[in-house]
Structure formats: C-alpha cells, structure tokens
Symmetry: D4
Subunit: 213 residues, 8 copies
C-alpha cells in the first residue's frame, strides 16, 4: 500500500520523543517521511535523527526526502478564503507537493470580496483538481465548484467564532452545496484533501522522469 509516496506520521497527541522513535524505525526502510501537525519542538527532535529534515512552518509539516517520487502531470490548485485559513491550506498544498504534484496557491479570495476570485480565474482553469479551504460560512467552495467542471475538494476549517461552532457551520455549508462535483473532508483536514487530490491528479498521467519529492 501507499508505495512510492512518503510514510506519514500524525504528530498531534504524540510527544516529540514518540515521533522521533517512529521516524527512526521508518528511516531504516529507506522511504520518504512526512509528519503532519508537527510543532517546532517535534521538528527539533526529528532533526537530531535526520539532519536533512525540512520544516514547512505554516503547514506544520516536516519532511525527510530519501527516495525519488513519480511526478504527476496535472496541476492542483489550492484556493483559500481568509488569512486564518492559511495553515490548513498549506497543510493541503505541502502534502500534495510532497506526494509529487505541482501546486498553485490562490489565497485570500473569500466570497466577501469575490472580485479577487474572478480576477484569478486562470488559476482555476489551469488546474486539474481544486482544493478549496474556508472557515466561517464556507461559501467559497460552492462558488468555485459552480464556476468549473472539474473535481473540487472542500476543506472546512475551524476558523470563526460563535455560531461557527468550531467548523460545523462551514462543514454543513459544503456538504449542502448545490454545485455538482464537490466532495468534502473533515474540518481542518488539509492532509486528507491533499492526499485525495493527489490520488485524483495521478489519473491524469505521470511525467517520465522522477525527482526527490
């Protein structure tokens, strides 16, 4: 299962030491490794074991590249609504990149200022798969899915307050979208969206050469 792609460690709820121990075991297999929900303390501990580990701060992801990765031809666009949604958007974007995808980011295009989205339509057009990340009312996913005829994956975020109920509002909005072709992942699950987008993008074919992810 999941060969060619990195092994993944979900660091939330694990101590830096636990993450480091799991990392060491995986390294013996010579595979690529990525850790999600990793804070800087986790990264410090991992670096002791793998000095070549990289840290994607906004995405809260660390990555250790030891093996080449097949690269998909298509582009994945990651679109997000507000500045506070960026950590989740980055989790999706960096995940997709580490799995071998070209990613284009289009941030801060929430429906309250929808002209910004329309001024960047070519990003949506170039993409083969689109990930939309939005909190609070989450309406951006519907708008994007209504504009394009390609797979759109919506990620509700826990950004908001009051009746956003920690992402529930955005989640329900996205599930109820009238725009065909939209599918949804868990609140704040940037990783899941990046992973699913990769699986879809792969269907459009892979480039001949290979590269370190």
């Amino acid at each position: 299962l999941r060969r060619g792609v990195p092994e993944v460690i979900f660091c939330q709820g694990k101590t830096p030491e636990q993450v480091a121990r799991i990392t060491r075991q995986m390294l013996e297999k010579g595979v690529n490794i990525m850790g999600t929900r990793a804070d800087t303390r986790v990264f410090e501990e991992v670096k002791k074991i793998a000095p070549d580990a990289e840290y994607h701060r906004d995405a809260r992801i660390f990555a250790i590249k030891r093996a080449t990765v097949a690269r998909n031809k298509g582009i994945i666009a990651v679109v997000s609504a507000g500045t506070s949604d960026i950590p989740v958007a980055e989790e999706a974007a960096v995940t997709a990149e580490l799995l071998g995808n070209k990613v284009e980011r289009l941030y801060d295009v929430g429906v309250a200022g929808i002209h910004r989205l329309f001024m960047n339509m070519e990003v949506l057009k170039r993409a083969q798969v689109i990930i939309v990340v939005a909190g609070m009312e989450g309406a951006l996913a519907s708008v994007v899915a209504g504009l394009v005829d390609k797979p759109v994956i919506a990620v509700p975020t826990s950004v908001g307050y009051g009746a956003s109920f920690s992402g529930l509002s955005a989640l329900l909005t996205m599930l109820n979208s009238c725009a065909g072709g939209l599918t949804v992942v868990n609140i704040d699950n940037g990783f899941g969206a990046g992973f699913a987008a990769h699986q879809i993008n792969k269907l459009g074919g892979q480039e001949d050469g290979c590269a370190l992810s």
Copy 2:
C-alpha cells in the same frame, strides 16, 4: 404601535374558523388585515366574511385592504436561490408590498450558477434594502452582501435534505458570513424579513400621496 400597517394574523396552527373569528373582530376597527401561512381552506373561510379578500397563493398570504397606506420611496429587492425557495421569497415580497413598499424580485440566482446574479446587478443597485432567501448551503446571502454596501436581510429556508437539517445549515452559513452588514431572521421567516425590510426602507422617506396597500 404599528399603526398605518395591516394587522397580522399568523394562521399556522389555527383552524379556518379561528382565523375567521379573529378576522371579523379586526375588521370592526376598519384596519387592513393580512394573514400569513394561510392555506386555501383558511382563505375560503375568510372570504365568507370579507368578500374583497385577496389570496396570494405562492406567498400563502391573504389580504383585506380597507385603509390607505403610506408608500415608501425606496425599492426592496427580494433575491432567491432556487425554485423551492419561492414560497418563502414570496412571503417576504408580498408582506413588503402590503406594508407599502415597491418590490423587485430576482429569483433562481443561486451560487451554483452565479453568472445569473452578475447579469442582474442593476436590480441590486436600484434597491435600498435587499432580502436574500436561500436554503441548503445558503451561500447566496454572503455573495450578495459582499457585492453591495446596503442593508441585506438573509432568510434561511428549510429546503434541502440530509445535512441541511431542515434549514440549520443555511442558518449557520448566514450567521457566519464574513460580509459586513448582513442580518438574519428565523428559518422560513419570510414575513419577518419583509417586515424588517419595510421598517428600514421607511427611513429613506415616504411618498406624498397614499394608496390602498
């Protein structure tokens, strides 16, 4: 209180006979009367007492006009997302009309086909107050409020299935809108939206002459 505007009967949960009895009592005061959530059986009974009663079928409203009503200068736009939202949109529109307002309707412009909204921007521009009626994901209210700089009243509807939870999804979406100036009424409460829009529209001034509502 509430002089100059019709007396209102909320017919839901009342028998046709009860509605007719309340109507008769009100008629003695010589005022205008409107009944919301009135089905045809209610209307038949009311007509026996007031043969001049009119019935707005889509809005489920009956109206009896006996007194002149001051007319507001500004226009109220009623915008709705899907065909199933029309009964609630009409409840709002007819309520506003009976209270003395000019109303423009813009229906079937949901975000899944958002180009229809953009092709009708002049309706939004002409209006002094806008009512947006939408079920399922309810994203239309956010989009409209983001496009204009005037009061927008959002009405979530119970239209939908599954995770729409009888209007809860649309309600939460609207409450969480990032677009400034949006206020919200209860699920399916077209009457409340029309009434509030009237109170706001009145602030923009009234025409000199008067008319039967």
Copy 3:
C-alpha cells in the same frame, strides 16, 4: 458549463407538472436530460412529453437520451452495505452511467459480514474510482479506502434508526475516517457522488467513439 453531459432536474419538492414544463423547455435545446428523485407520477407526466423517456425505478431517475455522450475509459465501482442502501447506490450508479461511465455494482457487503467484501476484491482492483454507500454506522467506507490506493467517494445514507439520527452517524464516521483519500458527500446524495466520480474518471481518458449515454 456542463456541456456534453445531461441537463439535470432535481424533482423532489416539484410537482409532476412543474417537472414536465422544465423538461419541455430543455428538450428544445436538443440535450440529454435526467431527473433525480422522480417518483412514478413524475415519470408518467414526463413520458407524455418525451415518449422515449426511460425510468430507472430503484434509482428514482428518469432519462431522455437525444445526444451522443463521450465515454470514459475507466470503471467506476459502486459498493454498498445493506439492502436498504440500494436506492442511493442506484442513484449514484445510474447517474455515473448516464454521464458516460462503465459501472460495476457490488452490493450487500457491509462490515458485519466483511468476508463478502474480501471475496470480491477484484471489483475494487478493476475500478479507477470507487463510490461507497452505507447507512447506520457507515464503517464500510473506511474499510474500502484502507484496502485500495485510489479515489474513494463515501455516501452516507439515512438508513437506520435511533442513534443513527437520519444519517448523521454514518456521515460523521466517514468524515473521521483514518483511511487517506476518502472524500464525502451529503447524506443520501447518490447523484453528487456519481457526478464527482465521473469528473474524476474523465481524467483517466475517454474512448475514441461515442454513444447515446
């Protein structure tokens, strides 16, 4: 938008006459048409206008084929848990077929008798995209997504009683799946799953010839 694919009418909440009127207008454009959530009374009315209309009883879908449709190379598998989930599974399967996809059905393989799933692994292997339909606890989607390395779309159904809360339990299960690559649509939204699966399947290439959908 959505050219080459049928125009879609969501019949729930519309009278047979309303559906027939919308159908007549669409037919003038010479396109294919499908109606979801259509009961037999809707179909009778549609047939008067389009005598060549077909009815997929289990899927509650009627279809009118007037134009050729490009056919996708890959297979979409539709997997379902219990007998009561079949109407939603069929809505997904027939939608996918009408959009130009080959579909393989694998029904009644719920986790309570998981050996049936394992005895049919080759269906999962042949497919390019998998739709999993399940009510009550909805665990089947996780199990399938854990077994394969391809896009899986989960459809929770409202089948169940008590703490299934009309599909909420299955919905939450699917959103929380630990199996990477799973995305989710609204409760009972077979159409949405079929539509999204088609958009994904299209990325794997289309056959040269064409056919009536």
Copy 4:
C-alpha cells in the same frame, strides 16, 4: 466598496506583528483604520507604526483616524442586559461611532429588572435604529422590539454557563422572537451589528459638514 468608512482588521487569530504589517500597508492608502478583537499587545505594536492610534479598551478596538467621515443624522441606541455583555455592546457602539454615527448607550437593563428599561424609554424613542446585546436567555431583544416600531438588531453574547451553550440559547431566543422587525447577527458579533446599524442609519440622511470619524 466600503469607501468613506474605515478599513477593518479582524485581529483575533493574528499575531501583533501580522496586524502591524497589515496596518502599515493600509496606511499608505490614507484611509481610516480600525482593528477589532485587539488586545493591548496588538495595540502596542500598532502604536509603533501609528502613534496617533487610539485604543477603546472595553470594545477591544483600536482606531486610526486620517480622513474625514460623513456623519449620519439619526441616533443609534445600544442597549445591553448585564455587565458581562458590555464588551460586545461596546464593540457595537464604538464601531457605529467610527463609521460616523451618534450613539446612545443604555446598559444593564436586563429583563430580570425590567423597570430600568421602562424608566429609560426616551432613549428608545430618540433612536432611529436600536442594537440589543444580551446573553444567557436573551429575552431583552424581544421585549425591546415589542415596544418600538423601528429596526432592531439583536446580538446574542456567549455570556452565561450551563445550558447557555456559549450563546446558543440567546441566539435561538432572538431568532424565534414573535416581535416583528427583529434581525439577528452571530454570537458576540458586536462589529457586525454596529456595521449593519450604520448602513440602516445612513438611509435617514447625512449631516452637511464632515468630521474626523
């Protein structure tokens, strides 16, 4: 959009440095700026960039006034139930003031001691628009809207414990009000209420001269 009024920064979830950077960019345009949900650490950082910045502690708002603002003729009343609701009430009041409105405050008039409200009816009478801020049971909004015939905007607060469910109780109360003309914003959304009240108040006309907001 939104010209003549301050640019707004929602500081919650942003670091003081991020807020300062956004502020600097906005200042170049010569506009007025306000930041909501700003704690003292945010204000300290903003002050380094704009020494003329003011801080409204109770409202948690900082303001930088660089341009004149048109002033509305009508008065906005801000009415609140308990002492703990004051931060939200002040967010509404200060927002309205910065947008160019005269504001009258009437605090601590919750329904448990409703005589205090009746002793201050002239405030309600003088106002053109009324904002009602209340937590726990939120009944004050209904009472006020039942007493007046003008637009009332209700703001539920997260004040309370137990079955207040962080503002849900007050929110539902307000949405279900039988008093016509009441509209509602998100829990704790003083800013949204102040902004909407301003848009409504503007309809009543603006004063000839201008002033620094």
Copy 5:
C-alpha cells in the same frame, strides 16, 4: 403515596381500550381519576365505563370524580404567551384544579405585546404560585419572574417553527433566565407544572371543608 389526589393515566401511546381497562381497575379503588393527553376517542371509550366522566377538550384531560379532595387556600395563576400555547396552559390549569386548587388564567400576554401583561398585574399579585407557558422564544417566563417574588414554574411549548427546534429554544431560554426563583419542566409538560404548583401551593395551607375536586 399521592393519596387524596386523583390517580393519573398518561394516555399518549395507549389505545382507547387500554385506557378504559386501566380506568376500570382504578375505579374499583374508589379514587378520583384523571387522564392526560386524551383525545375524544379515548374519552368515548372511558365514558362507557364511567358515564359521569367529564372531558376538558382544550386540556385534553378527562376526569372522574368519586372522592372528596382537600382544597388549598392559595391561588395558582396560569399565564400564557400566544393562542397556540393554550392546550398546554389548559393542561396545567385543569390539572391544578383537579388536584384541589383555585386557578386564575391570564392568556395571550406574550412579550411582543407586553403592555397586556402590565395591565393585568393584579393577577400576578393575587397568586401564590405562577405557571408561565410559552413557546418560540419563551421570554415571558423571565419577564414574569423578574416582576414577582414568588415561585414561578416555566413550561416551554413546542409551538413555533424553524429555529424553535420543537421547543428547544424556549426550553433553553427559560433555563438561562437571570430572574431568580424560576424552575422549569419538560417541553409541553403542562401536567408536570400543574402538579408541582399544587405541591407548592399546599404549603400555604388548606381550607377546612372539602369538595369533589
């Protein structure tokens, strides 16, 4: 336990025959009997067994009086908000009467027209215990409890639509009341309120003579 007061049959979910059978068994003990949630079909069946049975239509209660009942000195006031709340208010009032209490009714005094309540303050003053029945926003209970210094029992009703969530909104409002001394019973539980009010009223002393309840 519960001697001197009628035996109670909760008829909801029982067939008329089952109720009749239980009634016959109880009659042998020579006690008074009351049946709540009894429709006319239940009453017809009971009358065959006990021709002296009375039916309180609005309250949906039947009563059979065979024994004398001690009468409490104090008065119980039953206050209700809207016309649709009357069945629950009557369930409370008739229950209290059958248990031996003097009851005064004050109906249709909801907070949207709160002047009607103030015009009838002497009812509140005369009472020893007050029951407040209200649906939708349920604010009436808080207002009443804030005006008096005596036990107030609040009954939320399922009257309303949309975000009233079948009485949940009114229930939460009442539980969160800031007015000291308010206690609450289940949604629509007029019987429970009448029973509790009786137990409280009894503490104020009983009259010397006795009577058929």
Copy 6:
C-alpha cells in the same frame, strides 16, 4: 422587590476590583450581601471593604450580614449524588441558609449505591422542600421525587466526561423524569435552586423572632 433578602452579586466574569466596587455601593444601603462564584482572590478584595465578610469555601460564596432576616419554619433538604457535586450542592445550601432557611445536607447518596439513600429517609421526610444535585446520569432526582410527595428541585451538574456533554445528559434526565412534581434549574445553578426553594419554603410560614441571616 426582593426586600429582606440579601443583595446578590454574580462574581463569575467580574474582576475582584469590580466586585469590591459593587459591594461598596451596596453596603451604603445597609443591606445584607452575598457574592456567588467568588474565588479567594475576590474574597480578599471584599474583605478590605467589609472586614466582617465570611467566606464559604466549598460554596464559593462570600456573605456580609448587616441586617436581620426573617426565618422560615420549614426545612430544606439538599441531597447530592457524588463528591464532585458538592460545590454546587453547597452553593444551593449556603444560599438557602443566607436567605433564612434551616438546611439539612445529605451528600454522596447517588443511585449506584442507592441503599445509602434509603438509610436516610428521615431527612427526606423532615424536609418541606428538597433540592437534588447530581451530574453524569442525574438519575437521583427521579428516585427522590418518586419517593416523596413534596416539591423537589433538581440541579444538574457539569460533573462527568464523554457523553455527559458538560451536564446536558443530567439536564435531560431530570427534565424527562416520570416522577410528578419535579422542576429543574440550569446546569450548576445551585444559587437558583436555593433561591427557588426559599420562595417555596416561605409559604409554609415564618418564625416569630428574627436573626442575622
């Protein structure tokens, strides 16, 4: 209103300085004062102003006694289920005492060890009103109300974990009790229960002499 009883300050969400300032203002009226939800820091600050202030640590209540209080004849029993419920039980008990009632405590008699309750039946028998405090499943209130024929006030507590949902489970249990005469207050609202119990107990008559509360 509320004369003869202490003025009450709800300290939660107020700074020690705010509480002290309110206390000073109240002291000028020569009344008794009690503060609920008061931690030791609040008490320290209050003591500077009123050196005779007492602190009831378990109840988190401070009290300042300056005036005599009429004493009720009847006894209030406070019954609680587990050790973690004691702070709420004490809030109820101390509130009742400060309002002039004799209180008997019966703690740690939860239904999991129901024999302890039966071994102390005489406490229930002596009481005129009973307060039952319980978290988690909250079943104790039903059991007690089923055993006695007198007013019982149930206080759900937020004690528990998992599906106790911060007191929601206990709240629902108590609202649904089949035992007649039970009324309910908000989760953790010991004060409200003590206050209501006092209002009821007063109906049973007051002693001739008076005392410092």
Copy 7:
C-alpha cells in the same frame, strides 16, 4: 458464524414480498428463521411460505422453527420501566428465547414507583444477565446496575416527548451511569440487547438436551 442460532431478517424498510423472498431462500438451508420489526402484513406474506410460522405480536417478531437449538442454563431477566416500553422489551425477550434462553419478565417497575422493583428483587437475583429497557429519563438502568453484581445491558427507548428527543435523553443517561458494569445498545434496539445477552449467558454453560428454539 452464527451457527445453531436462527438466521435473522430485519424487516423494517423491506416490503412483505421482499421479506417473503428472503425467507424462502433461507428455508432451503433448513435453518431456524426470525424476522424483527415485522408488522402483520409481513407475517401474512411469510405464512404463505411457511405455514408453521409464529407471530409474537408485541415483539413484532415472526419465527420459523425447523432445527433444534442448544439451551443455555442461566436465566436472562428483562426489566422495563413503563407500559410504552413493552414492545422493545418484548423484542429483547423473544429474541433471547428464540436463541435458546430462559427469560423472566419484570415490567412496569420505573423509578417513579421504585418500590415495585424492590418487591421483586428475587428476579434480579435469579438472573445471570439482566436487560433493562427504559425511555424518557432512563434512570432505571442505573438503579438496577447499582443493586446487582452481574452484567446489565441497557436499552434506551424512543418513548417520551419534548426533551426526550426521541430517546437521546435515555441513551445519554445510560451511557453516563455511575454504576459499574452497565453497557448500552442503540435506542429501541431490543434485538441487539437480546442477542448480546444470549452471547453472555452462553458462557455460563448449556444444558445437555436440546429443543426446538
């Protein structure tokens, strides 16, 4: 799997014809069959195929006995709170009997009249496993589990109204029980409780002879 025990058909949501067809297929295997949630129309259809089918009306179960069944030595007690809980209690009891268990029923012993439970303690003592069925507040399960030191399975029922929320209240009560050893099944799932109780009872040994279930 499941050898020796009947094959089970869950009839809810299936037509009588569908049930009959499944029954016919199963009969060919010579096994015992039971159908749950079977109304009389289902039974009529089944009888045409298997004239020896029996119908347990209260339990809504039909049974066809063709093979001998091993009998467990221990007794299963089924305890229920109110008359309306009997259908679920019978579903549990008849299921257990058909699986080869001796069952003792103890009905109508809800906590509001808890003395009835104590008068029948010997039933609890004789049993090896106990099933407790209760709706509304569901407190009976806690009380029983607190009295005995043996496995207790709790079945919440959807009986109740208002804040019982269709069994949610009883479900939460049971999950939060402080009485050790209690486990819970889905709302109204008498079958599941009977099945689990059988699996537990089997551990206590089986009788030598056999019988038609």
Copy 8:
C-alpha cells in the same frame, strides 16, 4: 456489593490530598484498592500512605494489593485502533487484570490497515470476551464484532479532531453497528469496559487457586 474485587477511587476532579484521605480510610478495611484517572501527583501522595502502591502509567491507574483475588479462567482481549487510543485501552486492560482476569492486548489494528487485524485472528479466537477501543470513526468495533460470535464491548475514545466532536462520532458509529452482540460504554470509559468484561468473563468459571490481583 463488589466484594472480592478492589474498591475503586475515581481520581479525576479530586485533589491528591482528597484521594490520599479516601485511600487511608479504605485501607483500614484490608481490601484491595485501585484509583483511576490518577496522575503522578496523585500517585506520589498515595505512596506516602501505601508504600507498596504500584503505578500503571499508561493506564493512569494506581493499585494497592492487600487481599487475594479469585482468578477467572477465560481470557479478555483488548483490541485498539491507534496509538492515541492506548491510554483508554490500558485503563480497560489494567482494570480487568486487577479484577482477576488474564488479558491479551492487540493494539494499533485500526481499519485503515485492516490486514494487521487479520494477521492476529488467533487473539480474537482465544478470548472469551473482547474489548474494542477506537476513536475518530470507531469502525473497528463493527469489524471485530462481525468476525466473532462472542461478547464484544466497544469503547469510543475522544481521540480525533474536527467532526469527531470529542468522541461523539465514534460513539454513534458503535451504537449503530449492524454486527450483532456489540454493546457500548461511555466515551473514554476504559474502566467501565474492563469492569463489564470481568463480570461477563466470570460466568465462564474461576480457577481453583487464588492470587494477589
């Protein structure tokens, strides 16, 4: 009650001093003692009183063994899905061991990698009772219960994020399982599962000798 088994202290919400005091009182009776939800600070305090106390760090349980305990013949298997579920799994396992059971652990066999479960089927076969611990989607319990014909107790955990809603998702999944014989305990209630499993396991007989638990 509960003789032969340890006395249990639920330490959550108690100070180390309170736990120590309760421990001292219990020690006088010469019984075994276990404390659940005990952090290291609690253990330090307990050790002062009972130097022979042991601490099971992962399980957060301390144990003091002073009396012999009867040992059950059957094995209890504790199966868990992810690493973050281990504390709850250990609470169940250590509880069962202290009550006199042999326990086999099978951890990290979640449905996303279900082959690991199948590679360890002999553990499930050896066991007389199985406890399944899982968070997030909780599907493992269904899969296990579908594979075996013996009592399975499911423990949902609060592990997860977003729509896991602190264990609600896993709880609902488990309650809705189609696999017969599954019963459920509260979220994170490892103790309750271990206790119930012990009561069930005891039915399979006890070994002749005895041992310190």
